[in-house]
Structures are given as C-alpha cells and as structure tokens.
Symmetry: D3
Amino acid sequence: MSETVLISELPWTDYEKRLAKGRTPVLLPVGALEQHGPHLPLNCDTVIPLAVCEAVAKRIGALVAPPLEYGYKSQPRSGGGNHFPGTTSLDGNTLVLMTRDIIREFGRHGVRKMAIVVGHTENLMFTTEACDLALRDLKAQGITDMKLIHLGYWEFMTEPTIGKVFPDGFPSWNLEHAGVMETSVMLYLRKNLVDFGQVPKHPPADFPPYDIHPVDPHRIPSSGALSSGQTATAEKGKYMFDEYVETIAEALKKEFAL
Amino acid sequence: MSETVLISELPWTDYEKRLAKGRTPVLLPVGALEQHGPHLPLNCDTVIPLAVCEAVAKRIGALVAPPLEYGYKSQPRSGGGNHFPGTTSLDGNTLVLMTRDIIREFGRHGVRKMAIVVGHTENLMFTTEACDLALRDLKAQGITDMKLIHLGYWEFMTEPTIGKVFPDGFPSWNLEHAGVMETSVMLYLRKNLVDFGQVPKHPPADFPPYDIHPVDPHRIPSSGALSSGQTATAEKGKYMFDEYVETIAEALKKEFAL
Amino acid sequence: MSETVLISELPWTDYEKRLAKGRTPVLLPVGALEQHGPHLPLNCDTVIPLAVCEAVAKRIGALVAPPLEYGYKSQPRSGGGNHFPGTTSLDGNTLVLMTRDIIREFGRHGVRKMAIVVGHTENLMFTTEACDLALRDLKAQGITDMKLIHLGYWEFMTEPTIGKVFPDGFPSWNLEHAGVMETSVMLYLRKNLVDFGQVPKHPPADFPPYDIHPVDPHRIPSSGALSSGQTATAEKGKYMFDEYVETIAEALKKEFAL
Amino acid sequence: MSETVLISELPWTDYEKRLAKGRTPVLLPVGALEQHGPHLPLNCDTVIPLAVCEAVAKRIGALVAPPLEYGYKSQPRSGGGNHFPGTTSLDGNTLVLMTRDIIREFGRHGVRKMAIVVGHTENLMFTTEACDLALRDLKAQGITDMKLIHLGYWEFMTEPTIGKVFPDGFPSWNLEHAGVMETSVMLYLRKNLVDFGQVPKHPPADFPPYDIHPVDPHRIPSSGALSSGQTATAEKGKYMFDEYVETIAEALKKEFAL
Amino acid sequence: MSETVLISELPWTDYEKRLAKGRTPVLLPVGALEQHGPHLPLNCDTVIPLAVCEAVAKRIGALVAPPLEYGYKSQPRSGGGNHFPGTTSLDGNTLVLMTRDIIREFGRHGVRKMAIVVGHTENLMFTTEACDLALRDLKAQGITDMKLIHLGYWEFMTEPTIGKVFPDGFPSWNLEHAGVMETSVMLYLRKNLVDFGQVPKHPPADFPPYDIHPVDPHRIPSSGALSSGQTATAEKGKYMFDEYVETIAEALKKEFAL
Amino acid sequence: MSETVLISELPWTDYEKRLAKGRTPVLLPVGALEQHGPHLPLNCDTVIPLAVCEAVAKRIGALVAPPLEYGYKSQPRSGGGNHFPGTTSLDGNTLVLMTRDIIREFGRHGVRKMAIVVGHTENLMFTTEACDLALRDLKAQGITDMKLIHLGYWEFMTEPTIGKVFPDGFPSWNLEHAGVMETSVMLYLRKNLVDFGQVPKHPPADFPPYDIHPVDPHRIPSSGALSSGQTATAEKGKYMFDEYVETIAEALKKEFAL
C-alpha cells in the first residue's frame, strides 16, 4: 500500500483501510487562486496549506483531501482586492456549499475527525459556515459524532517567531499579503515559482479602517503586494513552515486524541 | 418636515425630499441579537451601531435605515459561540440576501451613497459579500454609480484612545466581546439596560488559534463575556462613542464628497 | 430582573430564566418598511404589530423578539405597489429564509411556543412558508414539539368593531392601506409621527381584479394611500388596538394552554 | 396549420407563425394537485384555469402554455391544509423558480404579452414573485417590454353573479374551496369526474383568524371541503365559467391592446 | 370508484384507497416542451412517457402522477439546442427542486414505490439529482424505505427491435431526436398532431464531439430534427410503444415485488 | 517569464501578459474524486483531463486553470455508484455554481475563449448548465463575446482507435469506467499510481436500463470497476492520450480561430 498521504493518489480499497474505521483524521486544505504580487505565483494560498497538511499528516497519521484551489473574493485590506487579473474567486455561497458537500461526503465514508486548513484569510467565515451547515446536515442523516477543527495556518505562528522573522516590527497578518511570510515560505517550498527580483520594495499599504465598493484600484499598491517581501529568505520560510507543522500537528493530536 | 434622521419615521413624501435626488447618504446599521455576558442586553451589537449612525447622520446630513437586528452566528473567539440561549443568528446566506436586497432597494429609490455600519464582527464577511452582490445586481439593472462604504464601527477607534481606555493593555477586538468597550458605550447610551453588578471579573478568555465544531462550551467563559468590563465607565463610553462618530463622519464626508 | 418583555433588552441570563424551560411563548413581529401615504411614517407595519406584541406579551407572560422591519414587496392592490420611494422590500425567498432562521434559533433555545405576528399583508404567504420550513428543519434536528401560531393582526378585528369604526361601510382590508384603521392606530400609538394635515381625501382606489407587471403607477393613487384616513381618530385607534390585544391574547392563551 | 390554441400541440414552425412577432399573448395556467373533497378530483385547480385559458385564447387570438399542475402548499383556511393524501405541493421557492423560468423562456421566444392565470389561491404570492423576478431577469438580458397580467380567475366573478349563485349569501372565496363554485364549474367542464353523491353536507368550516403549524387536522372538516357544494349545478357552472371567460377576455383585450 | 390510473382525476378519498397503504407504485412522467421538427408537436417528450406510464400503470396496478411538461434546456446534439422558438426550458436547479418536491410529497402520502419516467434526454441528470435529494430529505424526516426507479423510456427498446425499426442502421438515441422512433410513436399515439408531409428529409445531423456556448444555430439542421422520420409508421410506433410498456412493466414488477 | 501553461504557477503580471488581451484560450479541467477500482487512484478523472489540457495548451498556446478535483455524484451505470468509500462528490447545484463562478471570473479578466474539459461523465450536464448560466450572467454585466467549448475528453477518441484498443469489441464508454482506457492512460501518465496486480478480472458489469435509488450495492461489481482493464498497457495509453491531445487541439484551434 502506497505511503502517500494524499487521498487522491490512493485506490479506494487502500483508502478504506487507511481510514481505520474513522480513527484517521482527514485534512482539507482550502486555498485560493489569488494574485500575490509580481514575484509569487497565483497559487500561494493553496500551495502552503497543502504542504502544511501533507507534513502534518505524515506526523500524525492523517490523510489529505484534494485542496480547494479557488477561494472567496480577495479583499483590498487583506489581499489587494478582487480586481486584479488572475485573482479568480467564488461567490461566498459557492464556497460554503463546496466545503459543506465535501465534509458531508467524508462523514458518509466514516471519517469522524476533520481539519479544515485555510490558506486564504477571506475564506475563513465561509468555511466556518460550511462547518456549521455540514454538521447540521450530518445530524439530519443520523451522524452526530463528527469533530471539525477549523483553522487558518498562519495563526499558529508563535510570538517568538514573529519577533524573529519581523525584527523591525510585524505589520499585521492582513498586510503580510505577499510579504515576508508568504515569500519566505514559497522560497522554501517552491523556489522555482518565486521571481525574487520582482519583489516590490514599496512600504506597507496604508488603508483607512473601511472598505469601498466598488473597489478603487488607485488606493491599492499597484504591485498587488501589501508589504514588501524584500527580507524574505528560504531559511525564514523553513523556520516558519516547520513551526506551522509542529504546532498544528500538536493541536490536532490533542483535539483528535491521537 | 420632521427632523428625525430615521427613515422609518418619515412619510415617503418627506423621505423623497430628503433624498435630494440621491445626494443624501443612507446608513444601514447591521447588528445582531447575541449574548453579551450577564450584564449587557442581547441588543448591544444593534444599539451601538444604530446610535453611531444616528449621530453621524445628524452631522453629515444623512439618513438611517432600520437596523438589521439579527446577525451571523456568534463565534467562540469573537462572541463566545452560538450555543448560548438568547443568541439568535442567521445562516450566512440569509444575512447576505437580506443585506443585498436592502441595498438594491435603496439603489432603486435613487440612493447612490450608502454606508453599511456593522456592529457585530461575525457579520463582516457576509455583509461584504452582500455589497458585492448588490452592486452586481444593480449593474445588471443599469445602475452603475452606487458607492458603498462598508465598516465595523470599532475599527475607527484611534490608537491614542485605545491607550487611554485600556491603560493596562488592549487584549484584542475579539476578546473585547462584552468587555470594557461595549460595557462603557452601553453605560453611556443605555445605562438602564446595563446591570453593572453582574459584570464578570474573570480574566480574558484564552483560546487556541483554531475553532472546534461543534463548539465545546466548556472552553468558553460561562459568563459569555470574553474579558472583564470591570473598568468600564459611562465616561469612557462617551469618549469612545464620540470618537466613533467623529471619525466615521469624517470618513463618510470625504468618501461621499459631502 | 428587568420587567421588559423585549428579548433584546435582556441579558442572556435573564432571558434563559424568563424562558422557563420553553413554557414561555415568544412573539415575533414581522413588519415592513413601506410607504403609507403622505401622513404616516414608513414604519407603520412594524410599529403596530410590535406594539401589539408588547401588550399581548405583558398580558400572557410572553417575550417579544426584535421585529423584522423589512417585508415582502408592496403590491398595488394592498399596499400601493413597490415603486414608491421609501418602500424597501425583500425578495420572497429572503423573507422566508430570515423568518425560518429565527424560528429555528428560538427552537434551539428551547422555545416551543411561538407566534408570528404579521403587520404587512404581503408577508403572509412567505411567513407561512417560513413556518413550514422551520418545522421541517427542526424535525430533522430532532425537535418535534414546536407549535407556531401565524397571524395577521388586523384579522382579529371583530365584526362589531368594523361596524363601529367604519359606519359608512368597510371597504376591504386591502383598501384600508394607510386608511382609517392604520391612521387611527398610529394616532394612538405614535401621534408624533402622524401628519394629520396630509391625510389624503381621495376616494378609495378602484382596481381591476388583476395585477400588472411592471406596475403602472398611473393607476394607483399618487398619495400612496388606498383610501382616506380622514375619519381616523386616536380614540378609534385605541379601541381597535385594545381589541387586537385582547383577542390575540385570548387566542394565544388558548392555543398555548397558558 | 392546426386551429388548436395549445402551444404543446403545435410544431415549433407553426408556433413561430402564430406568435406573430410577439403580438400574440400567451396564457399560462398555474394550478395545483390538491384535494377538493370526496366528490371532486384532485385536478380542479388545474382543469378550471386551463379551460378558462383555452376559451379566452380562442376569443382573443392567444395561445395557451402547458399548465403547471402542482402548486403551493394547501392552507387550512383556503384549501383544507396540506396534510391530506393526494395534495401534492411545492415549496414556495420551487413554484417561484418554475414560473419565473417559463416566463423568461417565452420572453426569449419574443412573446411580450403574457397572462398568468392562477387556479389555486395559495399560489398567488409566489406567482407574483415569479413575475417580478422574471421581469428583473429579462431586463438584465435586455428585454424591457414584456407585460404580464397576473390574476386569480375567481376574482373575475361579478357581484350580480355572486348574488345569483349564492342566493343565501356568499361565504367567502376561501370557504368556497370545493364548494358551490368549483363543484358547479367542474360539473359543467368534466361531469364524469364529479361524484355528486359524495358532496359533503356539512356547514361551512369555521376557522379562527389565524393558522397553526403544524396543522391540527381535527379542526378541519374531515371531508376536505370547506363548504357544501350541494346546490351546485352544471348550469350554474356554465354561467360562471362563461362570465370568467368573458370578463378575462375583455381585460386582456384592453391591457394587451388587442 | 373510477378506473382511471390518473391521480389527477381521483378524489382524494379514492386516491387514498388506491394507494393501499403504500403498496401501489406511483409513476411520474417527466417531459419537456421542446421543438421536434416541423412535423411533430412540442409535447412529444411529455405525451410519450405519459402514455407509457398510463399503459404500464394499467398492467401493474400503479397510479400516474401529473406529468412535468417543462424540462431541462435542449442541447444541440440531443435536441437541436435551446434557441428554437417553442422550446421552453427550465434551469437545472428548477427541475431538480420540482422533481424533488413531488417525490417528497408522495413519500408523505405513504407512497414507497415510485418510478420517474423521463421522456427527454436532457432531464436525466437533473432528475437523478432530484431522486438523491428527495431520499436525503425523506430520511431527515424519518422516511427510509422509499424506493425509486429512474429511467428514460427509450432505453428499454431491445436490440432486436432496434434492428427491425432501423433496418438501415441505428444512428444513435441522440440523433433520433424527432426521427423515426418519436415520429412513429406519435403517429401511433396522436396521429392528429403529426404533420407527416413536413417530415424533414435531410440526412442525420453531423456534430463534432463537443458543444459550443452560445449555440451556433448554423451548425444545426434548420428543421430542428436531428435525423429524418421519413420511414416512420404508426405500425412501427405501436410496436415500439408496446415493447416499452411491456419491458418497463416487467422491470417495475420485479423491482417493486408486485 | 515561466514557460508553464499552468495559471496557478504564474504571477498575475505574467498571467496578464500571457492573456494577450483575451486572445489566449483558458482550459478548465473538471474532474472528480471517485473510486476507479482497486488498481487505480481516486484522482483518475482529474489527472487525465489535466494532462490533456496541459498538452493541448502547449500545442495551441493556451493556459490551464486549476482543475476542479471534486465532481458530481458517481452513478452505478457509469461510475459504480456513489456509495464507495473514497468517492467524494458534490451536489449538482454546487458543481454548477463552482464552474459558473470560475467562468465568470475568467470573463472578468478579459478571457474570451474557454474550454471546459470534463473528465467525469456524471459532470457533463451540470457543467453544461454552468456554461449557460455563466454566459447569462456575463451578458447581464455587459460581456457578450465569450465563447465556451464544452467537452468530455473521451468523446474525441476516433473509431479506428476504438477498434485498435478494443479488438474484441468496445463495451461502451459507461462500462469503460476503470477499464482498459482509463487504466492504459493512467499507466502512461502516472504509472506509479497504478497497482496493475489489482486489476479486476471480472466480466463487464451487466445493468438493466434503469437506476435504483437508493443504490443497491449488490448489483454492482464489488471491485468498483465496470469492466476489466487486464488488456491495458502504457503503450495503448500513450496512443489514446496522444489522440485526445491532437484531436482536441485541432478542435480548439478551429473553434478559437488560432
């Protein structure tokens, strides 16, 4: 039987054995196809949580479902806005239904421990709603013991690491869009997809505390990045990535009693 | 003609005059019916943004639409969770459709400047989606010049005020649920609805960086408050409220070219 | 503990006590934001059922949920039509989902007796559908003992009262839009919001027995009222209001075995 | 070319000619499958409006679309309630979408004059919503000149006829469910489907002015009829039917400028 | 009690008896209003499955529900495309909800054996989805023993019959749109609605193995038929019809243990 | 600028250049997570169309969007049924919305030529509906020149190739589920994921011409494959794959005037 943790690569017969009657957790990465400046590919928000899930799964004996590669609409203050070419987003309801359906199906297979690992800030409330609706639907079908852990991977970075990676001060997770963290982790994970020479050098974006609809592109850095990834390195990326994996693995082991 | 800024209190004939062919902004408060500890009423998230809207409207010559008094499901880390009695929430899609429909209708009246003033963190992404869908629908009907400002009122508190109100350190907006800020502002606005003797004294809630579905009530302060409002006063409330009104009024004047 | 019957004004702890393990009924007013001629405010269809609910609740020991202040689209023959400025309406599905969600949530709290008190004719079939869907959903979650009473408050006026209030003949409930009944009750409840000098004097609207889409505004009284409220008085308003309260309270006591 | 007015019986080539570039009106009967007492078949609410449409179409040169044979849920006070075997109903949203889609498609064909001829009281608000949504969608596709007439056929009975058919007093349209009118018209149209010996003899149902969810079958006449059709005759049926046809034909000729 | 198998023609009391506590199967024809060339009426896809259902019902003691006369959008390669006048189609979701609602309602009546008899290729996946959703919903309401047979009637033609009816080779079911089979069966069932002189004589349509959106009408036979019905006869129609009835009746007897 | 054809691997700036103002086609693979017997991984229906898209894109200068890795529910006669562990499917409406949203977004970017390349039979009608709805929505936003090609890749295999690959007779595309074609192409594309020793040896499944809901697993080969892939080879896989690529590339060049 293959050692892969990717459900997609298993025959159903192996998948069934690996499920171990529902004792095995399933991790679902929920990403996006979203611009990340001129230096990072559009798939950052999928690549990172998928890699996190794979590494976590190896540690804790979990399986990884195929990632959702399209997410909710990019917002100016956390992703630059949905007007950029390449950013390819779903209506909120679509993302809710998509995630709900998938959770329900794993529940039908017998899975009882799932982690929804979000890679794109704008997804969070819609995947939260999906968790709620999936549990409601499962209950209506007689399944009442599914446990879901819902998380944004970046929230697992510890304060010491933030201090280390951002010695000159941490702007905010929102402004980190295509900034030091994502650039570093992508340098570590998929160096060939990073065009470091294109990293923008502009200061962090400065937003008022509100949003404007329709978006006004002139108020957003034309690069699409909300802060500069100039100080990013693959080493920082590895450091952060390893911490994500370790802290998420610990959390899931505790919550899933592994 | 009545001096009220509340649309609901105007006859349609006065409303039409007050609209001034769409030059007048309309402010829509979007609240919730959500537990706020044993000392605050369930309507905090509606009362505060409604009061902010009324005061802002008086300053800038705007009108205020009836508030939405039911919001999205309370989340443990920002509202204690949706399992408390009294917390009465909508599915995400319902809140989206509700807000979208209302924006569309004001667009039909000729309104071209609207502010969506959110009083409940959990609403934000769903009201964001509503803004996007409303503009899409309006465009399909030939209306392309609607401008929407979407905000959470608490985001307008300035750093100096945070320093002043939280001299011992600001926990976070999420942990402020039913804490010093909301208690203070409610003491200022609706003292009769605050039972100060019931303010919880427990330390701020301590959450891991993820959510669990279904919610585990034992991990949440049994009071429903996420931090203590013991140091709240009506004076602080007035101070913060006035700042909200002033900063939001300024923002809207600028954005709406008033 | 506060004496208010408004759920929104209670802390959740008091609300829970007042629920008395589901023995206490909850009343949900479902109104509209709809033009009511040049003399009445846009909120008539919310103000009246809310006031009825409050008075009924005091009599029978019930609680009142925050009203829905937006309703289904105004129809020419019962509300003048949806084309008037100020009339701000929901798609039918939105009103259904909104009402359904709220009933479901009260069911989750343990409420088992609810009255849906409609103040706007056009809502009735959509709130009816909401009752049906809410019970279906509750059943799927294992709650099978919720009882809902669904009513339009005006239907509780007795024949003798109709004779008294309309000595020259009762046109019809539909033509009563912004007419003697609503004007009288608003004079009684919210005199300051009635501009009696603006009461239209035109004869009742005369409609063919069908509707036209899109609406033809020229066939509808330009005032928005469908009959004249010239003979309205606060005394008549009190008389009718008291009868609504008494007859609805009696009905709910009987149905809810109070 | 066939003389039929039924669109379903025409080849598309004849249909196209008969449309006359959109000058020809299309009539859409919207019925139900609903119990009508032990003496009438379940299809009364479809058979009658379909026959009305056919007769009207012949008079005014219109075409008739296939009827919708399933309608909205029967209500106790107008149809006995949805709990009877045989009554087979749609969710409100389903009926809205169904009717909306059909109107949109006729709009795509070039039809610009449509009448929605409802045979089931409970449909009315949902078909109203469908008219509104269809026009909105057509507008978004660039079609702005569709005119819809929406009607319940029974509302075209004149006062003199009511006096003649109900010499002892007219109960109400709602109580007429499976009563004198429907029994008479069915005797005229489909005598073979009427089992006159089974006509209930009980007095009209007596309802309080509210509805109860879930329905309480014991409060509803066990026959399913809300009043007695004992005095029904085929002659009365013909008289009423002819009047429906004549008055509706006149209304459509006027509205459609035929 | 009437001998009809049409539910619509029964009073509810007879229907209830005929249901025999759920032992009686109910057959639901799902058709379309779709162009079928210049020689066949728009209702072929409804007339044929309805006639099949009636004949099958008589054989096996089943009942027939009113047919759905509107179906999913005609596709170029199986129905010529949805751009023809007369073709009047539903959105996929509408057809799903419609069919789902009806199955649910029969489940509520106590029916436990249903056949969904499709007459229009394009419906198949949407009625399949409806079956799945209806069973899910029924389960949530506690009904777990409904059995549904879902079929397209034409799939019951045996290979020998295909050889006999198409001695020169069978094109494909898709190209049979308005071809020999449908023309023959309509000649047998509703000769008066067939204009045999208009049968197109063009060769079968030749399509590439993909679809184009929006449809390009120039690539589709302008007649709307995808092959020629020139060799159709009523005798062939009877032969095929009888085989449909016999084979479907056998299948249902077996599956429903009749 | 990277030579990749995968949109996900491009920064938005490169993507924009590569779009060439909409002259570049975008290919969207729509797959599934579905059991394919004990010898093939769950991702066959995604891997194959993705590989086809990449190869086609390189030939014709197109770009490839991230694949949809979850599809519509597996059906017994074409995929073995949705009851197998591992098969993880979407409701029909979810797949429609997902695909519609993505097409709309590419339309917003300026893309005017898209191919929807389906790898899972059961998706076809839902992706068809998505094409129709996306074009409708785009039109409502003023975009009327999008051209979509919708295809199932296997339909591009030519008759000669079928004769060559299936010398003993071609069962049918439906029975080819996890049979010779898919096994061969997977052997060619992802040999490491094929466990050839597990290829079932049973004869092709034998289905009646109808479906049963709920599915009866006993009527379906317990392997999940519908025919045997014993004669599959990587060479056959390459042959077929190359033909898919060539014929699809030719079709797109012609349709998109490349």
